[in-house]
């Protein structure tokens, strides 16, 4: 089976004037199979966000290549790039900030649908259906982001990400800003989506909580100082870490 996402030698070097170049992501490679949920763990500053920002093309890669569903997307621009976002979506760490404060949640969720040419009325119906699917009442479409709780907002963000029926969903610490019970609810929602959509939805799950990854992911990568230092099934990685850093990461939690 062809992987949905394949990353080769991906590198990001930040060069700041007057300072030494800083390699935030150092030649990482991995692939993600259809229907799989791949976790990436690592301490704060290990380069997880930088890596996914390159994959979503919000940040230009210094080197390396990104293949989404067999298509090279590393250097796409403009219209071609916008097309890619019909296959790949992301849920952000800060739910409230990920919605324009001046627009309703419904506007935000429907934006991608309007952009692919859906009429206003169809969009509204689809938005309400998506909200329902993510466990929110339909009238949340008319609320502003500051009028809902973080957890509710994150549900709306998931609804937005699912609007174009993407094949790859990237969650960059989608649960970190939420409290434990809400975290669990969001994970349950994601789990439900996975079992509904089977092989048509793959998830890249960024997290720095190793126990969440253990519950949720099929496979896990451990990142440290911009490199991938370990890879495997979560239970193995946690039970028998090969790498010294992984060992420490686990010790600090258990």
């Amino acid at each position: 089976m062809e992987p949905i996402l394949k990353v080769e030698n991906l590198t990001k070097v930040f060069s700041r004037s007057g300072q030494e170049d800083f390699t935030a992501v150092n030649s990482i490679r991995f692939s993600l199979n259809p229907g799989e949920c791949l976790g990436i763990i690592g301490e704060s500053g290990s380069g997880k966000t930088t890596a996914v920002n390159m994959i979503t093309r919000l940040l230009d890669a210094t080197e390396g290549s990104i293949l989404l569903d067999g298509e090279e997307i590393t250097h796409l621009k403009g219209r071609e790039l916008r097309k890619v976002y019909r296959k790949m979506q992301m849920v952000f760490q800060t739910p409230t900030d990920s919605f324009d404060p001046r627009r309703t949640l419904g506007d935000g969720i429907g934006e991608s649908l309007r952009n692919i040419g859906m009429s206003r009325k169809e969009t509204r119906e689809e938005v309400e259906r998506l909200l329902g699917k993510c466990g929110l009442p339909a009238d949340f479409a008319d609320r502003y982001p500051h009028q809902v709780s973080g957890g509710q907002c994150q549900r709306a963000a998931i609804a937005r990400a699912l609007a174009v029926k993407p094949r790859l969903l990237i969650c960059d610490e989608a649960t970190s800003a939420l409290d434990v019970t809400v975290q669990k609810e969001i994970l349950e929602l994601l789990n439900e989506l996975r079992s509904q959509q089977g092989n048509s939805l793959s998830i890249l799950f960024i997290c720095h909580d190793i126990s969440l990854v253990q519950q949720f992911c099929d496979r896990v990568l451990v990142m440290y100082h911009g490199s991938i230092v370990e890879e495997g099934v979560p239970d193995d990685v946690i039970g028998h870490p090969q790498n010294e850093y992984t060992q420490r990461l686990i010790d600090s939690i258990l």
Partner: protein
């Protein structure tokens, strides 16, 4: 608790709305009056009658007459057209021009940004009115050239503001989300950037109306703006400075007109700022 805060929000929102309607109506009224000023004058504003020169306010001439015996009230009403329209035009020009430059710079970055921002620094470093004088001097007198001169020196403030606001907006998570929603650059700018930055910019332009009115008047006074006998508040005031002690109504009438219009626009500016704050909106 929640009920209480919601009610408080609603009250606040209602009062902002009320002020917006009040000052908005006043401003519109002022503009409409100035537009139809010719039909609203009680006497002919240009008719000279030296036999009634420098008369203090009475029933026939509510604001008295000037040194040529012209009715001050009529002159102030007719003057509103030149004063208000040229000011609004000027502010509209600098707001649009400055915002456009600022957004392009902030969004694009790179060389274009550097070049345009250095140019705006140049303008900002120069004493504004002196520069405007030079420009108006080169172009020659006249209201149109005064507007061009003031526009040339006033846009950088807006460009700076729009640029810094655009830069801040560009980094937000919702801009990233909007990009991932497949919105084109034009859509991102018009649907997400502009609505989020226009509040502070509009407030600045509202508060600038007063300044611009005075600067246009200053240029008129120096013979580089509106020329007599055209009634214009600024030049009317400047021309009659010498009569301030003997016939104060002649100087004060246009002065009060400027004061009232500036106040209306300033209050409107404050209200728009309150209204633009998203937290004061919604239920």
């Amino acid at each position: 608790m929640r009920e209480v805060t919601i009610r408080k929000q609603r009250i606040k929102k209602d009062s902002v709305k009320f002020r917006l309607i009040l000052f908005g109506t006043l401003a519109v009224l002022l503009i409409v009056c100035s537009f139809f000023s010719e039909y609203l004058t009680p006497c002919d504003p240009y008719l000279q009658d030296l036999s009634i020169a420098k008369q203090p306010p009475d029933a026939e001439h509510l604001l008295g007459t000037d040194r040529y015996g012209r009715d001050m009230l009529s002159r102030v009403i007719v003057g509103s057209r030149t004063s208000i329209f040229s000011t609004l035009l000027l502010v509209a020009i600098i707001t649009a021009l400055g915002t456009a430059v600022g957004v392009v710079c902030g969004w694009n970055g790179k060389a274009l940004d550097t070049v345009l921002m250095r140019i705006s620094d140049l303008f900002l470093a120069f004493p504004g009115l002196v520069f405007a004088l030079a420009v108006a001097g080169v172009l020659g007198g006249g209201l149109q050239n005064a507007i061009i001169a003031l526009a040339a020196i006033s846009w950088p403030k807006y460009a700076r503001l729009a640029r810094s606001q655009t830069l801040a907006q560009k980094e937000t998570a919702w801009m990233k989300a909007a990009k991932l929603s497949g919105s084109s650059t034009v859509k991102l700018i018009f649907k997400h950037i502009l609505p989020n930055i226009i509040g502070p910019i509009l407030v600045t332009s509202m508060l600038d109306i007063g300044t611009m009115m005075m600067e246009l008047a200053a240029l008129s006074f120096l013979g580089l703006g509106a020329k007599p006998p055209i009634a214009e508040w600024g030049s009317m005031m400047s021309d009659t400075r010498s009569l301030m002690t003997t016939s104060p109504w002649i100087t004060f009438s246009p002065g009060i007109a400027i004061f009232i219009s500036v106040m209306i626009f300033n209050l409107l500016g404050d209200t728009i700022r309150d209204y633009a704050d998203p937290k004061s909106r919604g239920r």
